[in-house]
């Protein structure tokens, strides 16, 4: 396997958790809810996902555990923000703090254990094609699912009636409510979907990326996923581009470190975080003239009047 091929494969792997988590959050934010707890749901997905796979020996069960853990946490968030009209920023932060603590508690017994990593697709002949074979036909299920998920989200948002209603709820909850749509119920479903995606993204890390669990292994990926949603202007297509751009930055800095260019390794490690800040500045600045493209009701509480 050539160096370029290896780099492309590792970029795809590094981008996938970002893409999965950001795709879920995109739906949540399109429904007008800002869930800042992605990092907490991801790390819980990682801990529970590893626990599930370790106990049953199955990657699939592990992934399901991860999804369930993310959903459970997001349900707590929904009860607070939708049921009790709590400030979404504060509740999201609480979710992250809780998720990091709980994952440490659950994962403590599994640190140092190993599992069999997620199996990779293998199609005779096709997977054997030089260069593109492994990239296109030799990946694990998470990676194919992440692409399918984004396509599904695009189709849902722009080609279905339910997607139209979801966007209406996010742009003006009062109007949607006046038209008779159950705003809080739709938002609950969106938040649960986002939680499931974040949990799956977290589960990807110990199940397919590294075959073991370490506390805090998400290392800020949940926050980068949140930035990606802003970067994408809430459009699924741009989300893919953004996730792969960030995956590329985080992998290429590792290779640059290996070459030993005389740059402190800490500076290279800081690159994805610095890139996030820079991208946010550039995007926000470019948008200044055109006005905000964020869902108009994003982050505001809604208490239906009877």
């Amino acid at each position: 396997m050539g160096l370029v091929e290896a780099i492309v494969i590792s970029i795809i792997a590094a981008s996938t958790p970002l893409l999965l988590a950001a795709a879920g959050e995109l739906i949540v934010e399109r429904a007008g809810v800002l869930n800042l707890g992605v990092e907490g749901m991801m790390i819980m997905g990682a801990a529970c996902g590893f626990a599930g796979a370790y106990l049953t020996g199955s990657t699939f069960v592990g992934a399901l555990f991860g999804v369930a853990a993310g959903m459970a946490l997001s349900f707590v968030f929904a009860v607070l923000t939708l049921g009790l009209a709590v400030n979404q920023v504060a509740a999201g932060l609480a979710l992250t703090i809780l998720g990091i603590g709980l994952s440490g508690l659950i994962g403590a017994g599994f640190v140092g254990e190993k599992i069999v990593p997620a199996p990779q697709l293998s199609i005779p002949v096709l997977t054997g094609i030089p260069f593109i074979g492994r990239i296109l036909f030799g990946q694990n299920a998470f990676i194919y699912f992440s692409i399918a998920l984004v396509i599904g989200i695009w189709w849902f948002l722009y080609r279905t009636r339910a997607g139209l209603i979801l966007r209406a709820v996010g742009d003006s909850h009062t109007s949607a409510h006046a038209l008779g749509y159950p705003v809080l119920k739709i938002r609950l479903l969106a938040v649960l979907f986002g939680g499931g995606c974040a949990g799956l993204a977290g589960a990807f890390l110990p199940l397919a990326y590294t075959p073991f669990f370490i506390p805090g292994m998400t290392a800020g990926r949940g926050w980068i996923a949140l930035a990606l949603v802003v970067f994408s202007s809430w459009l699924p297509g741009r989300l893919v581009a953004g996730a792969y751009l960030f995956g590329a930055v985080s992998i290429l800095q590792l290779h640059a470190q290996a070459f030993g260019l005389g740059i402190p390794s800490q500076l290279m490690t800081a690159l994805p975080y610095l890139a996030t800040v820079m991208v946010l500045v550039i995007i926000s600045r470019a948008r200044g003239a055109a006005g905000s493209v964020a869902p108009a009701s994003l982050g505001t509480v809604f208490v239906p009047d009877r």
């Binding site: 709590v86 504060a90 703090i97 603590g101 709980l102 930035a227 800490q266 800081a270």
Partner: protein, 359 residues
């Protein structure tokens, strides 16, 4: 039947006072359930967590030492949150304060410099925190970039800068085999208040700060401005208050306080600059700010309470073999309950019969 929220005509003053107490009570109940699940006696565990640290003068001092940075950071954060500015990168500002202040301690190390070093370090620390906080503040006011994400990303960067310095240029050449600067000289160290224990002069500074913040928020035009911009941005615009200037102001103050807390921690209890100087003070301070209802006196009480959970958690880990992460779980749960109970100040929960289908 279903539960619905109904807006109160006025804020409930009774619940405003009762809600933190209720939140703590609910957290204690939840903790008991956790202890039962871990096979520990909840009564003993709660005693170890919350009562035992209060019975010993050494742990009492440790609580004050732990609470001091939490309160100092949380007071700065409360100004931000009151003004609806979401600085969640206090952890990074804390670290950069520690780094900038330590610079003086490192360059004067062993040179026999005079007693000006410590005051200058504190100024540098506050300056470092402000500088770091200005990045998200300016990104927000100049370009409209979301301050939540930028301030948080800079936490990771600050952590790496500290790591680089203590492994590289600032590393103690004569030191043992782990990354740390040389121990600070006595002139670069915050003096302790007692013969024994770690109680230091920074604690007094925090107490003074609580008083100053309380006066500033309730008695000055700046305090009024912060509250108006946060509570009613439209009214604030008509009053001629600039929300942009307030973003800069609140970020600058909270950055300075976090930076000051950082350098005091390094020059006081820790005594050297090394990785891992903060057990997440910048994040726990967010909980402290909310639990204290964004009010300086409330924050004082909340900071002491959260410090108690840290010290009690350490005690429980040693004497009862309870995992240390449990403390973080409780702190997260506590914040949830605080937010949920606060909702009852503005709303009341009503049980109503299910609506008949609209004809």
């Amino acid at each position: 039947m279903q539960l619905v929220l109904e807006k109160r005509a006025e804020r409930s003053t009774f619940i405003a006072l009762a809600s933190p107490v209720l939140a703590i009570a609910l957290t204690l109940v939840t903790m008991s359930i956790f202890f039962l699940m871990l096979g520990k006696n909840p009564v003993t565990a709660l005693y170890v967590y919350f009562i035992e640290p209060l019975t010993d003068s050494y742990t009492l001092m440790e609580i004050a030492v732990k609470a001091s940075p939490l309160i100092m950071i949380a007071i700065g954060l409360s100004l931000c949150y009151l003004a609806n500015v979401w600085n969640i990168g206090a952890e990074g500002q804390f670290l950069m304060g520690a780094v900038c202040g330590s610079y003086l301690a490192v360059v004067t190390n062993g040179t026999g410099a005079g007693p000006w070093v410590l005051p200058a370090m504190l100024v540098m620390g506050a300056f470092g925190g402000t500088l770091w906080a200005m990045i998200p503040a300016l990104c927000k006011t100049r370009f409209g970039a979301n301050e939540i994400l930028t301030s948080l990303m800079l936490v990771y960067v600050a952590d790496l800068i500290l790591d680089y310095l203590v492994r590289g240029p600032w590393r103690d050449p004569k030191g043992p085999n782990f990354p740390t600067t040389a121990s600070f000289d006595p002139v670069a160290t915050v003096p302790t208040l007692m013969e024994f224990g770690r109680l230091h002069a920074g604690v007094l500074l925090t107490a003074l700060l609580v008083v100053v913040a309380a006066i500033m928020l309730s008695r000055t035009i700046k305090g009024f401005e912060i509250r108006v911009v946060g509570a009613a941005p439209r009214a604030a615009r008509f009053a001629g208050f600039s929300s942009e200037k307030l973003v800069i102001f609140t970020f600058a103050v909270s950055g300075a306080l976090a930076g000051l807390a950082g350098i005091i921690e390094v020059a006081g209890p820790v005594g050297v600059l090394q990785p891992g100087i903060s057990p997440g003070y910048g994040f726990t301070a967010i909980i402290v700010a909310f639990l204290g209802r964004l009010n300086p006196v409330g924050i004082l009480v909340a900071g002491l309470f959260l410090a108690l959970t840290f010290i009690g958690g350490e005690g429980a880990q040693i004497s009862m073999k309870v995992p240390l992460d449990l403390t973080k779980v409780f702190q997260g749960i506590l914040l949830f309950y605080v937010l949920a109970c606060d909702s009852l100040i503005l709303y009341r929960i009503r049980l109503v019969a299910a609506k008949p289908k609209a004809a």
